[in-house]
């Protein structure tokens, strides 16, 4: 007879009822849920999506003069523009936002652990404020309030719409990166700080030479996860007039006389192109996360 867990052998869990819950430290792999889900998509999925989407409204087909073949042709005609000017702008916005948001977020995260109480509390307040605000509201506020030109010295710089959008979107990104940084730093065992202190390292040295290098790898997967979420949020800027893929799709459909048969292919294409962009990123994120777990 084999060992009976809990009686003749060590129990496999501490609690009789539930499995040991791996409470994930902040900044750790749990924030990868989004990427993991995307990464789990089978390859035939987008094709199936399009087929399903195109197959459903079979009833309405018979009634109109404009066929789906013509709609498909229209889409193909507009495709180059949609991708090179529309989607490209989405990507540019996502890169710029991530760059600014990361820089600001790292600074904010470091301020959240400052020994100075005022700095710490202000940084915390700013982080919570922008984490809990709807992204669209922030976009509206920033884009309305932002000056359309900046004067530095003798130079006048015209700020284009999409750049204002970048600043608007970088606010919530900054707040979320700040939380990632704070969580990662706080997950480094206090023994590391103590050992370094006993070796007479200054606080700044401990942070930059010992603690942050250990956190860095752990922060990359959730950072990439937020990049994917941000990219999914870039279509929001179309509501404020920025000419990215959604705006251009609508303009294209206008130019093609707004036949309702155009809606499925054009909006469907938007969905599909985002999927094809984010899916490889999600898979990469999951793979990197597996490689980069630093053992404490």
């Amino acid at each position: 007879m084999g060992a009976i867990p809990g009686l003749t052998a060590k129990s496999r869990t501490d609690l009789a009822v539930l499995r040991p819950f791996r409470a994930t430290p902040a900044g750790a792999a749990d924030d990868l849920l989004f990427s993991r889900w995307i990464a789990g998509a089978p390859g035939w999925l987008p094709l199936a999506m399009l087929v399903l989407a195109a197959a459903w409204p079979a009833t309405a087909l018979a009634q109109s003069n404009y066929t789906y073949t013509q709609a498909g042709d229209a889409l193909v005609r507009w495709l180059p523009l949609l991708v090179t000017r529309g989607f490209a702008l989405n990507i540019i916005i996502s890169f710029a936002t991530m760059a600014i948001g990361t820089l600001a977020g790292v600074a904010l995260g470091l301020w959240q652990i400052s020994p100075n109480r005022l700095v710490r509390r202000t940084a915390w307040a700013i982080t919570q404020l922008f984490r809990n605000s709807p992204w669209l509201v922030l976009l509206f506020i920033v884009m309305l309030a932002f000056p359309f030109e900046i004067r530095i010295g003798g130079w006048t710089i015209l700020v284009p719409d999409w750049m204002k959008a970048v600043f608007g979107l970088s606010l919530p990104i900054m707040a979320n990166i700040s939380e990632i940084v704070r969580g990662a730093i706080q997950s480094v065992p206090s023994g590391q700080w103590e050992a370094a202190e006993s070796l007479a390292f200054s606080r700044r040295q401990i942070l930059w030479q010992i603690v942050l290098p250990q956190c860095f790898k752990r922060m990359i997967p959730p950072w990439m996860n937020w990049y994917a979420i941000l990219t999914m949020a870039t279509p929001l800027v179309s509501l404020l007039g920025v000419e990215e893929i959604v705006t251009l799709s609508r303009q294209a459909m206008e130019a093609e006389d707004n036949h309702p048969e155009l809606l499925l292919p054009f909006f469907g294409f938007c969905l599909v192109i985002f999927f094809f962009y984010c899916y490889p990123i999600a898979r990469l994120t999951v793979r990197i996360e597996r490689r980069f777990t630093v053992k404490f």
């Binding site: 609690l15 009822v17 539930l18 819950f21 889900w37 999506m49 179309s238 938007c270 969905l271």
Partner: protein, 251 residues
């Protein structure tokens, strides 16, 4: 709003032309704000409830013995998670909405049976529901098979086991992630403006389109209202988490 405060805001609008808090002294505008707020709250509540139901049903289906059922659920999850929610809203309302059957109340107008609010609810609920399915599944997997087997040995069928044993335990495990998702859902309701749903953001934008001096004021109030709304939700969720915690379990 008491008269003294009304008078204050009227004066403020006169002395500082860029800060016209018109909805604090003009009752018609106040009505618009309140109706927008009410719509946001309604949208949030309905979508939260619906998305939880979808999450429960979906995670139940994911445990099914039939692979075809599992594949359908998987396909649904991947579609809604890997595409932008704004485009989902547009796709649902425009691309799919054109096929909704209509009825005619007076012989002239064709009113679709699913309005834009309806499509917003459907789209947002399915969006949040997709995340919920994963969250509940993680919770269910935290419950060991032996517990489920024990309840089956007592004679409960699969549905009863799920409802009385597995789900209550899984729920407690999933609650933190679930709360996070629900707060996100409330924030995402603002995107319904894209299909002209008259929620708070839409009403505020309408107000400052009518009264350009009210732009700064309406954005400030909008921001504050959402912070308060989300803040209340987050606090409430924390309380709830603490209240249903099983002693000795979880970090």
């Amino acid at each position: 709003m008491p008269d003294s405060l009304q008078a204050f805001f009227r004066e403020l609008a006169d002395t500082h032309p860029k800060w016209n808090f018109i909805f604090f002294y003009d009752l018609t505008q106040l009505d618009r704000v309140l109706s927008g707020l009410w719509m946001t709250i309604q949208l949030s509540v309905v979508c939260v409830i619906l998305s939880v139901v979808i999450g429960v049903v979906g995670s139940w289906m994911q445990g099914s013995h039939l692979p075809i059922v599992r594949r359908i659920v998987q396909g649904y999850i991947q579609f809604f998670r890997n595409t932008p929610p704004l485009i989902q809203l547009l796709f649902f309302y425009f691309a799919l909405g054109q096929f909704t059957p209509t009825y005619s109340p007076d012989g002239w107008l064709e009113v679709p049976i699913i309005s834009n609010v309806g499509w917003a609810i459907i789209s947002l609920s399915f969006f949040a529901g997709a995340f919920n399915v994963e969250i509940f599944r993680a919770g269910i997997e935290a419950v060991p098979e032996s517990t489920a087997e024990a309840s089956e040995a007592l004679g409960m069928n699969r549905l009863q086991t799920y409802m009385y044993v597995v789900l209550p335990l899984a729920f407690r495990v999933s609650l933190p992630a679930l709360n996070n998702n629900l707060v996100n859902l409330v924030k995402t309701t603002t995107q319904a403006i894209a299909i002209a749903v008259p929620e708070l953001l839409y009403e505020m934008v309408s107000i400052y389109n009518d009264y350009s001096t009210a732009q700064n004021a309406s954005m400030v109030v909008l921001f504050v209202v959402f912070i308060v709304l989300v803040g209340i939700l987050v606090l409430g969720m924390h309380r709830w988490e603490r209240a249903i915690r099983i002693p000795g379990y979880g970090g």
